[in-house]
Structures are given as structure tokens and as C-alpha cells.
Subunit: 202 residues, 4 copies
Amino acid sequence: MSALPRPTTARGEATRGKLLAAAEAEFGENGFASTAVSDITRRAGVAQGTFYLYFPTKADALRQLVQDMGRQLRHALTEGTAGARDRLEVERLGLEAFIDFALEHQNLYKVVMESQFVDDSIYREYYQTLADSYTVNLQRAQARGELRGGDASAQAWSLMGVAHFLGLRYAIWERARPPRHVLDATFDLLAHGIAPGGERGA
Amino acid sequence: MSALPRPTTARGEATRGKLLAAAEAEFGENGFASTAVSDITRRAGVAQGTFYLYFPTKADALRQLVQDMGRQLRHALTEGTAGARDRLEVERLGLEAFIDFALEHQNLYKVVMESQFVDDSIYREYYQTLADSYTVNLQRAQARGELRGGDASAQAWSLMGVAHFLGLRYAIWERARPPRHVLDATFDLLAHGIAPGGERGA
Amino acid sequence: MSALPRPTTARGEATRGKLLAAAEAEFGENGFASTAVSDITRRAGVAQGTFYLYFPTKADALRQLVQDMGRQLRHALTEGTAGARDRLEVERLGLEAFIDFALEHQNLYKVVMESQFVDDSIYREYYQTLADSYTVNLQRAQARGELRGGDASAQAWSLMGVAHFLGLRYAIWERARPPRHVLDATFDLLAHGIAPGGERGA
Amino acid sequence: MSALPRPTTARGEATRGKLLAAAEAEFGENGFASTAVSDITRRAGVAQGTFYLYFPTKADALRQLVQDMGRQLRHALTEGTAGARDRLEVERLGLEAFIDFALEHQNLYKVVMESQFVDDSIYREYYQTLADSYTVNLQRAQARGELRGGDASAQAWSLMGVAHFLGLRYAIWERARPPRHVLDATFDLLAHGIAPGGERGA
DNA sequence: CATGAATGAGGCTTCATTCAT
DNA sequence: GATGAATGAAGCCTCATTCAT
């Protein structure tokens, strides 16, 4: 019924942090639908009402969380691919960085995926943002001749798909880094495709 | 407290069908968590109690639904790739068949994805089953020399990822078949990779 | 999210009746704002959820109640004034019938008055309906020469005001029928006004 | 747990004033039950805790408000009827002054009426005080022969009822002064009653 | 005097499931 | 086989009030 005055003091900022961390853990472990606000506040060690000092609704906490995770992931990918000499190496390093990130943030998958059932726009924005920056990078690499041509956007989405399922199968389900030969095979596919004949890497 | 009587008369079978169809529609449109059993029975045109004559719980209806959709999808893929001359063509046709299926079964994505929040095993089984049969097919193709070597399982998951995100972006979000050049670019990537140098198709 | 299927069986009708009676009592005794739905269901002897089988919201129960009371009041007034020979006698009898009704339905006042804080339209409709039928009756009496002329609607509202405050002071606050001389004085005012000079009745 | 310090500095008095004005506006616009203390403090431009420096409870602010409005109304009526030559003219002018007051203090009605659901004594005191002084005035007028006889208290309550409903219908619902013919008809009733035969004014 | 973060009880509403008919 | 009324637990959110600064 009225805009909440989002606490701004240092103490407030700290509480907000605790709440967001607790939300990530709970949503990740039990899912958004199965998590009660009271679960979050209990974990954060604050009263239930405090939650609503920082988030207008439970769903909004999810939104903030997903946006946060998107930022963190993009940051991790940038970091993880910093030393690469060419785009192919970026992809290789990126794949590993992604897996590492997913391993450390088991909750990412669940939190992001469930966001679509809460508010589709959260989910779409997450992937669209990711895809957009990915696409730009691929276009630049194409221009530099480091990648074969083709619709960069389509490539971006495909590569995201590859990474996503690799992460799902290993980081999430196995809770372990994929074995080297799987990583190699995945990268090989992504670099040279499945058509026979081309020389192989690795 | 006792095993379900599972009606078996023709009338019963019809009711069960109506219920499952209604569940698919509701789960797909509003999500599992936001769908009440009463939404399903209302749509199916039966009383609320009737639901429990056919499904022990709401979650079980979801399980049956996902299994059903998995079967249908695999069937559609088999059909859609029947006339292919080699594995590459299978992949090409499979990609299109998948998109077509997703277009006709908009709910597939939501229903399957949300299943992991209800019972992870439903979700895992869905993808594992898909991946397993995919893997076998790829291995055979490799044996026939129609595909370059490498861990077939890793390939299968990668290819599933590519198809998944292509479907998400177009069939689900745009509710339209992807433009030809996107399909071409996607298939090109999957066939020849992103490394520069290889001759290109299309 | 969906229209509720309002139970229609005899059993259902009975439950609805218990609920409405309990709501009248609770709203009347403690006020709408201070009455919890659980207070109502407890008094009615049903589970809390049952309430929502019959009323979409707590506020809607109030609406139904007010409408119900309006109907009852109008009925009581019609009954109570049936034997009158002219309009003046109708007014006299009506005043008494109104007091009697208020005495038997202590809750009427509180329930109706508080309705405006829940939804102004409930309140307005109540009085407008009352005023409208009152006005028509006054017009007819004027036409029959049983009443002096003048804006019948203004008269109706004024007379309602007189009755309202008489009821408030006695039926509600004193919980007793006003003393005869008060009734007489009130009726005298209403019949002959406060201007001096006219001969007086009683 | 201890008596309120009731600030007494000029600054404190100013804050108290802002708070009371904000409370009147909020209670009037949204009702007591729907107004949060935070709504009041936000409107007053002070922190939430400040409210409790001036009022022990939210209900107490309402009490003070109602008492305040009673005083103001009585003052306005005195002012508005100052120049009248006889009691009938006082009534006429008083009716108009009341309407004007209600028009300027839309909130009066809601605030006063809702007070009964918070604490019946607030409400009773308001009307009793009004009726008592009204009664005294009528008795004096009767003694002067400016009014016909009869229980002055009953007359007072009746006249209050007439004014109340006139104000409700026009000042509050229509937010406009009643048309002249309505005022005339109302005054005519109050002066000469509804019985036929008497000479008519206007 | 004033601030504003924190509290925690309480209320409305939803919904999966049961059961008597 | 089917019905639909009833249940009651559970969860989101609001808000009067407190208190440390």
C-alpha cells in the first residue's frame, strides 16, 4: 500500500545481506515454493517481520537474488577467461569457469530455473542478459577471425545450452567437476562439431 | 492407506484421460505450484474427489505426465528422423522435429522443468532416459563412421543442451519456429563447431 | 483466482446459515475489524476453511449480512405498519417497529455502520434502498392528502435520521424501549414540527 | 509503563500538531482500521517512533481527534447561528452551518463513526455532549415561547438525526451543499412536521 | 526530541486431502 | 465410479509497539 523505506544504515545493510544469503541457501536447498519466509528469517537470525523491511514480497527476494547471481556469474566468467590468447581458449576456460561457479553455487540452477514459475520476466532477463553479452563477444571474435562466421546470437544460445547441460549433469547432479575426457569431448564438439573428417584437438 | 483401485472400465479410462489432459494444460499454463487440484478437476469437468480416484497425490499426476511427455517426445523424434540418410541428417531433422514438438507442446518445458522442484527423480529420469538412448544412437553412428569420435555421452548432453535452448528461445518464448538462418547457424555449429577454417554448409 | 462453487445441497445451505448467524453475532458484538474469521467459524462450529466455501472474503460476508438485514428490516417495517389507517399512523407505528427491530437486532447498527469502512458501497446501498422505498411511500401519501407536500425524498431522509438517533440512544445504548413521553415527543416533532402555535396531540 | 513525557516545547507542539492533522486526514480518507501508524508518521514527515512520544496508542490519537472535532463543530455552530433572531432561525442557520462544517471536514463523519468500534465511550461522549448542550438551548427557547413544548432532549436527538442524514447524503456522499429546495423541505419538516393542514413556509 | 530498525503476534486466505453419501 | 462438502494445517504479510542510538 506504500513504498517501503528500505533501511539504509550500516546495520540495515548488514541485515539485508544476511537475509539475501539465507534466501539463497534456502531457495537453493528446498526450492522457492517449499521455502517459507520464516525459514529464511530463522536462518538469518532475525524476526519474520524484518524480512518485509527489505523485500516487498517473497517473490521480490527471488528476483533480487537472480539478478545478483547473474552479476556474479558474469563476473566469474570474465575473471576466469582473462588470460586467454584467443576466443577458442576463452571458450575452453569459460566452460571450466562456469562449472566451477556452478559447483560453488549449487543453488544457482535451482534458483534461476524456479524463477520462471514465479515471474517469467526474471528468468528471461537472466538469460537474455547473458546471451546478449555473449553474442557481442562472439561477434568481436568473428571479426578478428578467431571464429568461423554465422549468426553469433544462435551460437551464443547453443554454447549456453552446452554449458548448461554439462553443469547440470556434473556440477549439480554429481556435485563434481566433469572428468577430463568429458570436458575434452565437450570442448571438441563445440570447437569442431560432430561432423566427421576434421582433424581433432586434445 | 490402501492401493488405489485404479478404475479400469472404459468410463474410468476416459475420466483418467480428461484429468491428465487438464493437468497438462494447467501445469503448463500456470505451473505446478500455482495449480490447485480443483483447477484441474474444474477443467476436466469432474468433481474434486474424483482426482484421487486416479492419482494418489498431485505430485504423482505430475510424474505420470512427465513420463508421458518423455515417451511422446522420443516417439516424435523417431518419427521425425525416420527418412534420414546419415546421422548428420538425423541431427538436422531431429532439431526441427524437436522444435515442432515443443511448439505443439508448449507445456513440455514448464512441466518438465518444474518437476525437479517436486521430486528430483522425475526430472533426472526424464533427461537420463533421453540422454541414454541418444548416446546409444551416437555410438552407433560413430561406429558407422558417420560421426567423429569422442565421448558419445558428452556429445549427447551437449546436443540436448543446444536443442533445449533453441527451443526455449523460439518455441517457448517466441512461440514461433526459429528463422531459417538461425536453424542453419545452429546446425552448422553442431556439425562443424566454432573453430575457424572448416568449410561451411548452407 | 476462480469462482467458488457455492455449495447448494441442503447440508450446504444449513452450513451457510450457521455461518451467517455466527457472523452477525460476532460482527455485532465485537465489530468487523475485531472479529477474526476464526471467531466466526468457531461459533458456527465448522472448520476455518469452510468459511471460504461460502464467502469469497470476510468483507463479502459483511456485505451479505447487511443486505440481509436490510431486507429483514424492510419486512419488519411493512409488517409493523400493516394495520395503520393513514400515513401518520404508519409513521407512528413505523417508529415503534423500528425500535423493536433494533432492540431485537442490536447488531444491526454496528454491522451496518461499520460496513462503510469496509466498502462504502455496502453502506450506501443499504440506506439508498431504504430511502427510495420510503420516498415512494411518502409520495403516495402526499397524493392521498395524508401528508403535507414538499420534497418527499428530503422528508424520507429526515425521518430516517430521526428514527436512527432515537434507536441509537435507546435501543442500542440503553437497550430499552424509549419511555412513552419520548416516543410521543419524537412523533409530535415529526408530525407537527418544532414551530410553536400548532395544537398538540398526545 | 510510565506517564508520557508529553513534550511541551514549541517544536514539540508543532510536531504534535502535524501528527494530529495527518491522523485526521488518514483516518478520514482510509478509516481508522485501515490506517497504519506509519501512514500517519509518513504523512506528518516524522519517524515512526515519534508518534509514541505524543500518543500512548493509536486509539488514543483517535480519541483526541474526536474530542477536537466536537469542540470545533460546536464552535462552528455557535458562530454560524450568532445573528439569528429566534430559535427557528437558529435551527435554519444551524442546519446550514452544519452542512458547511461537514463539507470542510469530510473526515468528521468517518472519524466519529468509526470511533465507536475502537472505544464506544469516545463515540457516546461526542454525541452526548452535543445533545446536552443542544437540549439546554431548546429548553431555553421553549421557555421563551419560541418553540412548542415537549421533551427537549427528544427534540434535540431528532434534530441531530435530521442534520446527520442530510449531511451524510449531501456533504459526504455528494460532496456538495444540498440544493435549496431540499434544504427548504428539510427545514419545513423540522418546523411544521409532516402532518397536513398547517401553513407552509418557503 | 527524534530516529528508524527490529519485533512477533495475529489474521486472512489457500489448498491438498478425506469421507460420507 | 463419482460427488462435493468439510477439514485444518500452513504460509504470506501487516502492523502496533519497543528500544538502542
